[in-house]
Amino acid sequence: MEMALDLELIFRVLVFPGFTFILFFTLFCDWVERKVEARMQNRVGPAVAGPAGILQPLADFVKLLTKEDIVPRDAKKLVFKFAPIISFSFMVFALCFLPIDGASAIPGAGFAGDLVFIMALVTVANFLLFLSGWASANPYSAIGSARVLTQFLGYDIPLFLLALTPAFLAKSLSIAAIAANQYLPFILLAPWAFVLFIITLQAELEKDPFDIPHAESEVVGGLETEYCGGKLAFLHLTRDVQIVFGAALVVELFLGGPYGPVFFGLPVFWYSLWFIIKLLAVVVITEYVTCLFARLRIDQVLTANWKILLPLSVLSLTLTVAMATWIYPLMV
């Protein structure tokens, strides 16, 4: 009995919906992003590796792993080496708390305030990314990581305030409870919060119009400038996992989580399918926004964050509270 339970736990953590699934699904999402962006820009996009180039992200990842790995002489070696991998692990760990096939990857890991916990995890992961650039001993990396931090200070508060809207509606700070409480997805009940959340997410994921830290015409490679080989592969993977995490958060908070109609057979299968479909829809939306805009300047982003996004997110929460009397009856 004890043994069998352990096997299931190991399978859930390592294979599905845990590490292996997250890894390959991340690479798949990367492919979707690249393909969508390419089609939007009238290009072909990845087309060679695998059918329709679906293996291209994997090929890129493996290629980077085989490249020479150089550590600059003046870099803070410990931070420089481990920050990308630790940051990646934090992102994957945070994903393990989200219900993917109806339950989270680690059964019973969720607790009453895990929304706050995973937001904190992501904050730490972002801070580690900043550290990795800061440790590079390169002026471009230093500017790039300073920008990560500056931008992140601006959007972190609005993002959390906006995440509180679904929590308030579900009367819980537990992700699982929020997802399970959406008989009618919160996107329909509080669409204003959803729109704002997507915009703020665009900043969190450092995508256009907020991809200041990656402005290659200004800061060359940003915090990645000195990275190469396997460590660069992990930095790229961290970014991709970050995108999946952001999209997954939107799914859990606004789109009813993995839940949806079960037509026949195992609910686990349908839940996973609904989760993947919803998540891909969010990825396509963010990529669409990315293609539409030019990159803003750092001062313009900060102005947008503090003068527009923050008051709007407070307003959004207030509006939700004010409307609660009318919204609650709809939730049953």
Partner: protein, 513 residues
């Protein structure tokens, strides 16, 4: 104007003035005062054997007036005119580098196109310069590595944009001194990929030179060829048949079309608008195909030659060109709408790098950069060459002078270019498209100007009666426009540097010819 001044009419512009060396400041001053839009186009150095010749090509009332003087070779000194017209700064430094002329009172004399470790007293464009002397380079360079900085200076952070940098598609070094995010000074160091085309062209025949000067710049290649062959034709007294002129005009405008589209796309890339970049470059592709249809080559057209063009346009190709132009015109409406309404694009380009009309005139900038600052200036209107005198088109100017205006001027010029090509195709004269010319060119000298996509392109050619030119001087538009960037970047944000710089449409292969 002083004693010893002789005025005559030659191919050196509207008038050529011979003056004694000491009175250059007075004469230039008098000429600059004749027109409030006056500026200096170029300064040409010449090796006259015992003496160094110096020519100031002043642009006044839309035409060129050349002031020539001579300096002793062993002590070539002349007062600087940079304080009269700041735009002469780079021109004087270049002549100082290549001919060893000392400009007394120049505000910042120093190497501009030659490397720091270039030997002293070796001036490459002098005829007696021995290339062997290059092997005896001094081991130590004159880099001021341990130079003592003033306290105010040491607070500034030095950020290098280039020689290799993602914002620059070609190598050139700009050291940007920033205080926080604000740019305090920009120091250019051009010449990183200087190829010595001016020297090389003296060792080739006129016909070979047409191909050589075309390779100065891959984008505005036909403009270089056109400007060079026009100068030679002036010396020869050759009249190009009308059909040749019209075909040249079409090739030149195709050049402008693809150059402007390239730049607008590239500007998108610099402000992180990748979709704009991909769209623009896709729409540019048919223009490259049209160039191939017309000339046989996609990039370096190699179609212009002394006496006309090398290839006629087939009657059956006319509809093909027109169809593509109609499609492009529709696309330009889309881009007009985009540039006028897309908020993030306007936020990044409006009020960025504003160049006032006064500064534009003082710095003698040319082309779309000058026109975006409200200067009415276009060689196609001022001194029509090829068939431009017969073709109606609008001169696009704007008054804002910022990055946005510089991009919009180009956007509007694309539409004008389409009009010009369509008009030229409709009114294409019958007859021969080239005349045969002798290979040996009679002794003489001439200047010529062409409105390249980036602005006024200037050539001076001196012939000594052989098949080889005595001197070829090239003043490219980017060389004249870089001072505008140095001026406008100061006080702006470091994040605006790429957008501001790219709006000049910098071409370093032109600058380092």
């Amino acid at each position: 104007m002083g004693n010893g001044v002789q005025i005559q009419s030659t191919h050196l512009g509207k008038a050529s003035i011979q003056i004694p060396a000491g009175s250059n400041r007075n004469v230039v001053k008098v000429l600059l005062e004749t027109d409030k839009n006056a500026g200096i186009s170029a300064i040409t150095g010449l090796d006259l054997g015992e003496k160094i010749g110096l020519m100031y090509h002043v642009r006044t009332n839309g035409v060129i007036v050349t002031i020539s003087t001579e300096l002793p070779k062993d002590n070539p000194q002349i007062p600087s005119i940079t304080d009269l017209i700041p735009g002469a700064n780079f021109h004087e430094r270049e002549v100082a580098d290549l001919f060893g002329v000392i400009f007394q009172g120049h505000p910042n004399p120093g190497r501009l196109v030659l490397p720091e470790d270039w030997p002293e007293n070796l001036y490459p464009l002098r005829k007696d310069a021995k290339i062997d002397e290059l092997t005896t380079r001094p081991a130590t360079s004159s880099f001021s590595k341990g130079a003592v900085q003033s306290e105010a200076e040491s607070k500034l952070v030095n950020i290098f944009v280039g020689p290799q940098h993602p914002a620059l598609l070609e190598p050139e070094k700009f050291s940007v001194k920033v205080d926080g995010e604000i740019v305090k000074a920009v120091e250019p160091r051009i010449g990183y990929v200087h190829r010595g085309v001016e020297k090389a062209s003296e060792q080739r025949t006129y016909l070979q030179d047409v191909y050589l000067v075309e390779r100065i710049c891959g984008i505005c290649n036909s403009c270089h060829a056109s400007c060079f062959v026009e100068t030679v034709e002036k010396i020869l007294g050759t009249e190009v048949p009308p059909r040749g002129k019209y075909l040249r005009t079409i090739i030149l405008e195709l050049n402008r079309l693809h150059s402007h589209l390239l730049l607008l796309g590239h500007a998108g890339l610099e402000i992180g608008y990748e979709t704009l970049f991909q769209y623009m470059w896709r729409d540019r592709e048919p223009i490259m195909d049209l160039t191939e249809l017309l000339t046989g080559n996609r990039v370096i057209a190699s179609s212009l030659t002394v006496g006309g063009v090398r290839r006629d346009l087939k009657e059956t190709d006319v509809p093909k060109i027109k169809t593509q132009l109609v499609i492009l015109r529709k696309r330009m409406d889309f881009y007009q709408n985009l540039f006028n309404s897309e908020p993030s694009l306007r936020m990044r380009t409006r009020n960025v790098g504003t160049l006032s009309k006064e500064d534009a005139l003082k710095l003698c900038v040319v082309g779309p950069v000058a026109r975006a600052s409200g200067v009415n200036m276009d060689v196609r209107k001022d001194e029509p060459y090829e068939a431009y005198g017969e073709i109606p088109f609008k001169l696009i100017t704007r008054s804002e002078g910022d990055t946005y205006a510089r991009l919009m001027v180009r956007l509007d010029e694309v539409t004008e270019s389409i009009n010009i090509i369509e008009y030229a195709l409709d009114h294409l004269p019958e007859g021969p498209y080239r005349v045969k010319v002798p290979r040996v060119v009679v002794a003489g000298e001439a200047v010529s100007r062409v409105e390249a996509p980036r602005g006024e392109l200037f050539y001076y050619v001196k012939s000594n009666g052989t098949a080889y030119p005595e001197r070829v001087k090239v003043r490219t538009p980017t060389f004249a426009n870089i001072p505008a960037f140095l001026k406008t970047a100061i006080g702006g944000s470091i994040a605006d540097v790429p957008a501001n710089f790219v709006s000049l449409d910098p071409c370093f292969s032109c600058t380092d010819r």
